[in-house]
Structures are given as C-alpha cells and as structure tokens.
C-alpha cells in the first residue's frame, strides 16, 4: 500500500458506521462504513479492503481497496486496487487501476481537459 500523504492519519475501523458529512485536514483511512460525503481537500483518503463508502468523495489522493459508491474528485490521483469496486464518476489528474478492479462510471482526467481547453 502507498504511504499516506502526511504524518497525521485518522482511522475509521471496520466496525464503525458513520452517516453524515466528514471533513478534515489530515489523511483518513476508512475500513468501516460511511454514508454521506467526505471532503479532505489537500489530504489523502484510503478506503481499506473492508471499507464500504456510499458518499461523494473529495480529496487530494484517493486509494480504493474496498467498495465505493459515489462520485470521486481528486486533485492529484486516484488508485483503484485489485479488490476495488467503484460505482461513480471519477474526476482526477492521474489514475492508476490494478487488474481486477471494477469501475462503473466515467473517468475524466482534469489536467488534460484544462490543457486541451487552454490550447
């Protein structure tokens, strides 16, 4: 697994269920259930193998190993690991998808769109 973006890392364990809006200024590791929205501008979000997230997600870098249902916006990168199951549109500057990952949705590479628009 990639190293977190910074030293601070909050964790949501696999027995935890959260409904509502999650926001913060540190990296977050979700191995439980979250329903609502997650906003971590400038920080990283990792959805662990047991994680089940039903939320719109915004972060600098997003790594998915579990299930994610909702639109994804990453200012830097998105990584879908082989166990990832993602249903939603992804908007990011870079994306990496491991073989075996499942994606149902659109992929929009933001940097390229801006570059193309700026031509």
């Amino acid at each position: 697994m990639s190293a977190p973006l910074s030293g601070d890392l909050a964790q949501i364990g696999k027995s935890v269920v959260i409904k509502g809006e999650l926001s913060g200024s540190e990296d977050l590791y979700v191995d439980g259930q979250v329903e609502g929205s997650i906003a971590l501008k400038g920080n990283g979000l990792t959805i662990g193998p047991n994680g089940q997230v039903k939320a719109s997600v915004e972060a600098k870098a997003i790594i998915v190993q579990g299930k994610l249902e909702g639109n994804v916006q990453a200012s830097d990168r998105v990584e879908l690991r082989k166990s990832a199951v993602v249903s939603g549109d992804i908007s990011t500057a870079r994306i990496a998808i491991e073989e075996g990952a499942y994606l149902k949705g659109k992929v929009d590479i933001q940097g390229r769109v801006e570059k193309a628009a700026g031509k």
Binding site: I95, A96, E99, Y102, G105, V107, D108, I109, R112, V113
Partner: protein, 230 residues
C-alpha cells in the same frame, strides 16, 4: 443460431488457451481515425475495467465510461421466471440498474464479445438500449464467434494497445462474482463466462436491424468483427 444452454459440467476439460494473446482488429483500425478527432469523443467500454483503455482514451482527451455488463448480469436479484415458468433474467430490472445514460450520449460503444456471452433474455433489450444511447452516426464495435467455436471458448477482456491492436486477457472471475442465478441461465462457470450461443450473419443483421449500416470483418481466430453505425 447455435445455442449452448446446457453446461458441460465443471469436470469438463477447458481448452488450453494462453492467459494473454495479442490480435489485430480490423474493426478497431476502422475506428482509429475517430480517435484523432480534435473534438472530445464520448466512449463507452462495456468490457471488464481496463486501465489500458482508460489511459488510451484519456490521453487523447476523450471521455471514457466503463461498465462491465457481464459481471452486472450475475447479480442474483435479476433471476425471475417468465409466464411459462422458465428461469430468465429480468431485463427491465437490468436496464433500470445498468446503462442509465441520456439518449444519443455516446460517439462510440465498445461491446467487444458481450452479445456472445450475455444471457439470452438480456441480449435484445441491451442492444435496443445501446442504439438509443448512441448519437446518430455513432459506432458500435462487437465481436462474434463463428460456428467453429465451442461452448468452452474462453471469454476475454480486451485492452487497446495500439491503433489496431488488442491484447486479450482471459477472464478469471472473482469468487463473489460467481454468485448468481441457478440453472441453465447462469452464465458463469468455474473460471470465466460461458459462450451462450453462436450468431450467424443473418442473426447478427437482425440483432442490429435498427442501425443504419453494418460492416463485417472476418478474422482468423474464429471471430467476426462487426462495426455498426446508428
């Protein structure tokens, strides 16, 4: 149409097929001129999620949508019975859960070998939905086995690796994806999806009868490539 509804059983020997193959695709070659378009295209890939395909299109500033309909068809809640009591998959429910896009949204749909492996009850409804999702003049690429193919012909995922070149990778299902309907309609076998039928040219023409034009490309590997235009 040659149907393969029965199962040869888990004990049946599967043909020895390499995990990865490379093949030239005339249909993909025909589409290649579109990829160079300055106008961003809207492309729908109905095969297994492919990083190579996503990279191929996003590098060219096109928008790519990915939706694996074969895996979606293994959803257990789709199993129902028709008026004769025959086990089928609920096409209405399937289309309520999948392929939910505005009309005339896509420039290109990459079907790959979906029609050959999709359950019988879903094939026509899915093709009807794809027609409505394509823009007028939009194109759909599909692959069909020829009559020489057997029921154990392996199902592949397709990665675009060049202008007219595909890498084919044998699909190995995850354990959870195999949970599905019981009986003959179940499309999944122990290590992949099962070929459901072989269409002849007339059946293919009927399947795409609402489209404006159809072009066949015969390949050496018992596959016909079909490019249709709405």
């Amino acid at each position: 149409m040659k149907l393969f509804r029965g199962s040869s059983g888990p004990e049946a020997a599967l043909p020895q097929v390499p995990q990865k193959l490379t093949r030239r695709s005339s249909g993909l070659g025909e589409l290649a001129r579109l990829w160079e378009s300055e106008t961003p295209l809207c492309v729908l890939d109905l095969g297994s999620t492919s990083a190579a395909n996503i990279r191929f299109f996003t590098e060219r500033s096109h928008r790519i949508y990915s939706e694996d309909l074969l895996v979606a068809s293994t959803e257990p809640s789709l199993v129902t019975k028709d008026e004769d009591g025959k086990v089928i998959l609920d096409s209405r429910q399937f289309l309520a859960d999948n392929l939910v896009y505005p009309a005339a949204h896509f420039d290109v749909v990459l079907c790959w070998n979906l029609p050959d492996y999709l359950d019988e009850s879903l094939v026509r409804p899915v093709m009807g939905r794809l027609w409505s999702m394509l823009k007028p003049g939009g194109m759909l690429l599909a692959f069909f086995h020829t009559k020489d193919a057997g029921p154990d012909s392996p199902c592949f995922r397709f990665h675009i690796v060049g202008r007219d070149t595909l890498e084919m990778q044998r699909i190995v299902l995850k354990r959870e994806a195999r949970r599905g309907p019981t009986g003959a309609v179940h499309t999944a076998i122990s290590d992949g999806f099962r070929l459901q039928r072989v269409f002849n040219n007339r059946h293919i023409e009927t399947l795409f009868r609402d489209f404006a034009s159809i072009k066949f490309f015969l390949a050496r590997d018992n596959v016909r490539e079909v490019l249709v235009v709405r």
